[in-house]
Structure formats: C-alpha cells, structure tokens
C-alpha cells in the first residue's frame, strides 16, 4: 500500500482544518498526487474537539483514494490539545523507517503518556512560539506546515510555499514565511537528532 495517512487533532480555532487543507493542496494540486481530506463537522469545528484528516497516495498512477478516511496506524499524527492527547495510544503511529511521526504541543498539553513510547516524537511548543514570536496562535499553522513539509517529504518546498501564498493573506505573508522557516529548522534539527541516535 502506498497510502500516507495524516491526522491532525486539536480544538477548534487552532487551525487544524486549515493545516489539513494546506497539506492536501500542496500534495494534490502542486504534486499531482491523489488525495482526499476530511474534517470535523458542525459544532466540533468551532470549539470542541476538532480534527482534519488527509490521505495521500504516493503512487502517481493512482487516480483516487479508495478509502477516504485516514486509517490507524497513521504516518503522521499531530496532536494539539490535552483532550485529544488522552485518547492517543502507542499503536496509533506507524513504527517504520522514514515514517510514523508524532508532533505534539507541550504548551497546550501537560502530560502525554503515549508520546514517551513512540519512536519519532517531536514535542514543540507551537502555540507558545506562535504567540511569543509572531503575536498570534494562527501562525502555529505555518510552523507546523514547515515541520510537515520537511518530515514527510511528500511535496517539495516550492509546492509548500506556493500553497502558503494561496492560504495566507498578503499582509501577514512575511510573518508566515518566517514561521514556516522556523518549523523547517526545527524539523531539520529533529531529523539530524534521529540520525545521530541511529548512529
């Protein structure tokens, strides 16, 4: 199977759905891969537990995704709220080479038990960084998008930047690009760290 399963969970307003839309746009429109995105609906999207899922088929010959929901174990799991972190179990994330990432936010999640047992875990205080460095939590999205671009390697950086330009209003583009860069750096450091550990 060449499916790449991505799930983003958090609470409404964090940009969970926007992030999933950015991921699918970069991979399907700019990279030409088959992909579907699904998202939490109605009240959840506005305040409760909110999620967005993307399934991408890495095989370029595939025209559409056979099963549009993301399936466990995920290739990429992003957890942004305490409530959703509690539900996460160790086997939610793939334990394979080059895939199976868990990204979580220590500034919104106090305790994340499962995170300790998962191999490729990156805890990064996205919300705190976004507010302190850029002044608004919405920039957390661009940080995460930067991280995702580097770690997943599904789409090129050009595709990612093109997507960012489409999603972000012109007035905040510079700040978002900065945030994207920050995420990229974090991800690269993380990859190096993994490499060192393996060596």
């Amino acid at each position: 199977m060449t499916r790449y399963e991505i799930r983003v969970v958090g609470f409404g307003g964090q940009g969970v759905i926007t992030l999933s839309k950015m991921i699918i746009m970069a991979s399907s429109i700019y990279e030409g891969l088959a992909a579907t995105q699904t998202e939490a609906y109605s009240a959840a999207a506005r305040g409760g537990k909110c999620w967005g899922e993307v399934v991408i088929d890495l095989d370029k010959n595939i025209e559409y995704i056979d099963y549009p929901k993301a399936l466990k174990p995920y290739d990429f799991l992003i957890v942004l709220s305490e409530e959703s972190a509690n539900g996460v179990k160790v086997d939610f994330v793939k334990n394979e080479e080059n895939t199976g990432f868990l990204i979580w936010d220590p500034s919104t999640i106090k305790k994340f038990r499962a995170a300790k047992k998962i191999n490729k875990v990156l805890g990064i205080p996205i919300q705190k960084l976004a507010v302190e460095k850029f002044g608004n939590i919405v920039f957390g999205n661009s940080i995460l998008f930067g991280i995702f671009t580097i770690l997943s390697g599904i789409f090129s950086e050009e595709s990612a930047l093109e997507t960012l330009r489409k999603f972000v209003p012109n007035s905040t583009l510079d700040k978002n690009l900065e945030a994207f860069e920050l995420g990229k750096q974090e991800a690269m450091n993380f990859l190096n760290q993994i490499k060192e550990e393996n060596n």
Partner: protein
Amino acid sequence: MDIENSKRFLPEGKHLMMGNIAMSEGAIAAGLKFFGGYPITPSTEVIEHLAVRLPQIGGVCMQMEDELASINAVIGASLVGAKAMTATSGPGISLMTETISMAANLEVPFVFCDVQRNGPGTGFVTEPHHNDIGLMRFAGNGEFQVITLAPMSCQELYDLTITAFNFAETYRCPVFIMSDAYLGHIHEVVNIPSKEEILKKVIDREIPDEITKKFSYKDDNTGKYIIPKPPIMGTDYCPTMFLSQPHSSEGLPTPKPQLFTEMMIKKITSNIDKISLTESYKLEDAELIIIAYGLPVRASYRAVDLARKEGIKVGIFRLITIWPFPDEKVKETVKDAKAVIVPELNYTGVIAEQVERVTHLSTPVVRIPNVCEIHHPNDILKIIKEVAK
C-alpha cells in the same frame, strides 16, 4: 436578466474543492439561475456557496422559510424558464415529496441534490447512509419515473451535475444527484474543463416555439414518446394552464389516466439507453461480479485489484445512473456470473433487491451492508474470498 458568463466559469485547471462545493460549481457551469434551499446538515455548504456565487452571475439564491417553500420556489422559477435546483438531506426530501410529485406531473425540469445522512428520524446528521435511495425512486404520491445519478468523487459531482441538468432539460422530469454526508464533505481535486468545453456539453433552456405549448405525448403513428422542450411562462409559448392532474398534451384534463401514467413512465424508460450510464471494470472473464454505486465503488476497485492478484476472477459493474434501473444491462452482465456482490451503504440492499428482481433470484446475491461506515477494500476482499471458495 440573463446569466453573465464572465464569472460563471471557474478558471480552467485544478481546484481543491469540497464535494458540496464541486456540486454547486457544476450546477453554475450548467447554467443554474435559481436556487431555493433551506439549511440542513450536511447540505448546508451548497446554499452557503451559492449565496455567494449566484448573485455574482445574475442568478438568485434564496433561503426559503422551509423545505416545502424551497422546492415550490424552484418549480416556480423553472416554470418561468430558469434552470433551478435545490439541495437537501433526508428529512428535507421527505417534506419535498409532495411537490416533486407535482413537478413530475407538470413535467417541470429541475435538479435535486440529496446529500444523504443517517436515518430514520433525525439520525446521525454527519454520517453517510444511502437510505433515501428508495425515496428517490418513489419520490412522492403517484406513479412516475425519475432519474437518479450516483457520483463517487468530487470530480464526478461536478461533471454529473452538468449531466443532471441536461437530463432534466431533455426528459423534463425530476433528476436527483445522490450524494452523501461523506462525499459532500470530502475535499478533493476537481479538474475544471475550459469554458468552451463546458458550453459544448450544456443543453440550454431553449427558446420556446409552438410545440413547447405541449406536454409530452405518445405519437400514435410511430408509438414513440415525444418530449417537447420545456415551456416558459411569461412568453407566448406556454400552455394556458398548468394543471397537475392527468392531462393531455394540451394540458387539459384527460379522461384516460392510464395512458397518462404510461406516458409518465415510458417517456423515461423508453430512453433508457441514453439515460443509463454505467462503467465496467475487468468484466471480460469475471466469474464474480460486484455491482456498486456511489462511494463503495472506490473500495471495490481496490478490492478487485487485490483479489485479481490472488487469482480470483472478479469484476465491477458500476451503476452511475441508479434509477431507472438498467434491467437489461444488468441481466446481460450477470447472466454467466457465479455470484453477485453488492456493497451498499445501507442495510436493506435496495440495489441488491433490484438485482434479485432482474435475475429472478437465479444468481446468488451477496450483500455487504454498511451503515454510517464506508466500506474498506479489505471488507469487500474478505467477502470476495468467501464467495469464491
């Protein structure tokens, strides 16, 4: 006021779209001028999107006071020559059946998008459940034939909506687009063709002439059913009254209701070759045949690929047009099959029943019922293996 073409068509190329939006854009491309709707989960995005888009092109999007008013306003708009549609979900279509029946009688063309959700009653409103499929066939009191199309992706929601409008204009009957909570909310890439290509496909509401004063009738000499172009109220070419009783081709009450009923059904079923859209996949040597429509088709394709790798001869017969049910085509397809597998997003297996009817129960029909849960390719593969044994 005519529709402005400058903003009607989205730029050619790839667009990332939600299913409901793809459907709305398809409708706009097809020349939609009037939308009457009432917000109901999970079809709300349609009215939200059209409230933005339709005024831009000189169309009208109205949020009516209830579903009954929506569908009646749609019929009113269609009577005066606007391409019109509504979108709703299970409880909405239940309310609208009265008017659908009237529209079928008056032969008013309109398109109806049913974004199905779980039922009965209120149900789980964001879960997919193909439980209105029977309602879409028998949509209202009286006997009449409708057309129902079942897309399986955002791209098809766009394309088939254009087809649906063309069917409505040609056959003057209610045309349903069968979507569901899942399909309506999926985001996928939609390839929008060029403006010229779309305009080549679209059948416009034609300028009426003398014959449009007439309703459909049977030509006594040839025995064929003649469907004139839809009349437009407010022009000279319109019957003096629209009377939703069994009527003659002139619109006056007819003393022969049976002939009228026959005409209502036959005008569609006699054109079944043109209406019935189907797709075949690896059917040439298939011993097992999957008959599927809508979302489960996606999983079926993968399941068939996997099963073929294991040497099981299985193929897919996909129904794009569900109603009228293509009796002859299905009969022809399954006549040599060992068994038929029908994965459906409902418990009863409405299409499985139709297959049983067509084959006179001579071929075993295996249902894969799934409620509020999409079929996974492995579910279907498991059944294929079991049946193949």
